[in-house]
Symmetry: C2
Subunit: 304 residues, 2 copies
Amino acid sequence: MSVDRLIEMVGEKKNPTVLGLDPYPDHIPPAVTEKHTEKHGQTLKALQRAYKEYILALIDALYDIVPAVKLQSACYEALGPGGMEVLRQGILAARNRGLYVIVDAKRGDIGSTSKAYSSAFLGRVALGDTLLPVYDADAMTVNPYLGSDNLIPFLKDCEAYDKMVFVLCKTSNRSSAEVQELMAGDRPLYRVIAEQVSRSGRHLVGKYGYQNAAIVAGATQPTAIRQLRKDHPELFFLVPGYGTQGGKAADIAFAFDKQGRGAVVNNSRGICCAWQEDESVPYTDAARKAAVDMRDDLRKAIVW
Amino acid sequence: MSVDRLIEMVGEKKNPTVLGLDPYPDHIPPAVTEKHTEKHGQTLKALQRAYKEYILALIDALYDIVPAVKLQSACYEALGPGGMEVLRQGILAARNRGLYVIVDAKRGDIGSTSKAYSSAFLGRVALGDTLLPVYDADAMTVNPYLGSDNLIPFLKDCEAYDKMVFVLCKTSNRSSAEVQELMAGDRPLYRVIAEQVSRSGRHLVGKYGYQNAAIVAGATQPTAIRQLRKDHPELFFLVPGYGTQGGKAADIAFAFDKQGRGAVVNNSRGICCAWQEDESVPYTDAARKAAVDMRDDLRKAIVW
C-alpha cells in the first residue's frame, strides 16, 4: 500500500519532512535567474529554465535527508505549458532519487472531470486499448467541496495504481475558518469532511492501520489537529504550514501516533529560501542545513 | 467591466449559451483521432493533435451562434504539458473569433498560491519589471473551500485586468448536497458562500448591476437557483448542467432577471457530441444544429 511505503520511507530517514518544491520568481537565487534571462530574455522560457535548474538541484541536495517532496502545481502552471513540463521533470527526478512524490493540485470537480484530473496525476489516460501515464505521482491533494462523486474517481485510481489522495480538511491559511469551521449541526465542517474521507476510504487500509485516503490538516491549527487525530486514528495527515506560516513542532506532534507514525510535515519556503538568510552560502547548502534543522526539531517533538 | 461585456455579447446573439469545450478521447469522432494516431501512434501527442483539431473546428463552426466558450482545464491537463498548449491555443482561437473565454479550473488555495493560479489564467506573471501574460482568459472558476484569502488574489486580478471569477456555489453534480447543503446555522452552506462572494466583490459592480465576482449554480438545482437569485440580484450566474446532466430551460429561467440578463448556461456534451446521434453528418454541422436548438429552447424560456 502506498501509505505503508510512505510510512516506511519516513521511518528509514527518521524524518517526516516533505520538501515543498513551490518555486516563485523571487525564491530563485538571482544568479540562477540571471543565467537564463541572459540567454532567453525576460521570458517565461527563462523562468522555466531557472525553475528547472533550481528544483533539480534541491532534489539532488536533499534526497538523502527527506523522504518525500510536494510540488505545488500552481507554481508550474503559472509558467504555462512549459511550466508543466518542468513539473513533469521534477516528478521524474524526485522519483528517480527514491522520493515519494505528492502533487499539490487541490483538484475537485464533478465525477467525469475528476476522472480526467486523476488520470493526469495518478492514473492513466486511455486511448483505445493503450493506457498512457501522464504525471504519475504517488499522491495528490483533492478539494472536498463537490462531494463524494468528486472523490470516487481518485479513490479508484488509488486502488488500481496504489496511490494516495490527501483531501483538504483543515488548511493552514488564516481564513480557512470562514468555511471550514462553519458549524454543520454540532460539528465544524472540517470534521464532517474528515468523516466522509474516512468512510470513502475504508477499503484502502494498509498494514499500519492508515488509509490511502488521507487528509490535509494545517500545522497552524493545533486544536483541529488534536481533534482530527482523536476522531480518526485511521487517517494519515499531510501537515502544511510548519515554519514560515507559523506552525511549531510541539503543535504538530499531536498529528502522530505513539509509534511516531501518522503524518508528514511539509516545508517549502523555510527550506528552499534559506539562502536568503545568508547569500554567501550556496542555496543548496543553505537548504540542506535548514532541512537538517527541521528534521532535528521534529525528532525532538515526536516519539519514535 | 468584464461582466458588462459578457452581458452585451449574450444580448447581441440573443443567446446565453456557453459552448463547453471539454474534450475526452471518446468525444472525438473516430476519423479525427485515427488521422493522428496513424501519424503519431497511440500516444499523448496523437490525442493532443486530435483535441486541437476538434476544438478549433468547433470554435470556427459555432462562433456566430454562441457568445462564449468554457474550456475544462482537466481535459487538457490529462494530456500533460502538450495538452496545456492545446488549452492555450484554444483560448487564443476563441478570443480571435470574438468569444468570451472562461477557463473552468476550479482552483483554490492559500493566498500566495492562489496568486500564482490567478496570474496563470487571468493576470500576469512578474519577472523583474516585465509582466508576462500566460493563458489570459476572460474569466475562470474558483473553489471557495479555503475562504477569503484564497479569493482575494483572483479579485485583485479581476480589478487590475478587468476579468471575472465564478466561485463554485451550488454545483450540478449529484453529490453536491453532501457538502454544499450542510446547514451552517439556519442556511445551507452554498448560501453562505454566495454571501461571501457578494461581499468580497462589492467594489466590482458593472453598469447592469452585476459583479465581476460571480457564482456557479447548477441547472440541476432549480430550488437553489431560485433561492440564490432571490438572495443576490447582484450576482451573475454560470449555470452548468443543461442537457446531458438533466437541467431544463424552464428551471434555468429563474437565473435570469426581467431583462433576460444575469446568467450564462453551459453545455458541453450536448453540443460537441451531437455527432454521436447521427454519424453520417459532419460533427461540426451536428454541433451547429444542437447549438441552435439549445439557443431556441432557452429563448422560449427567458424573457428578453
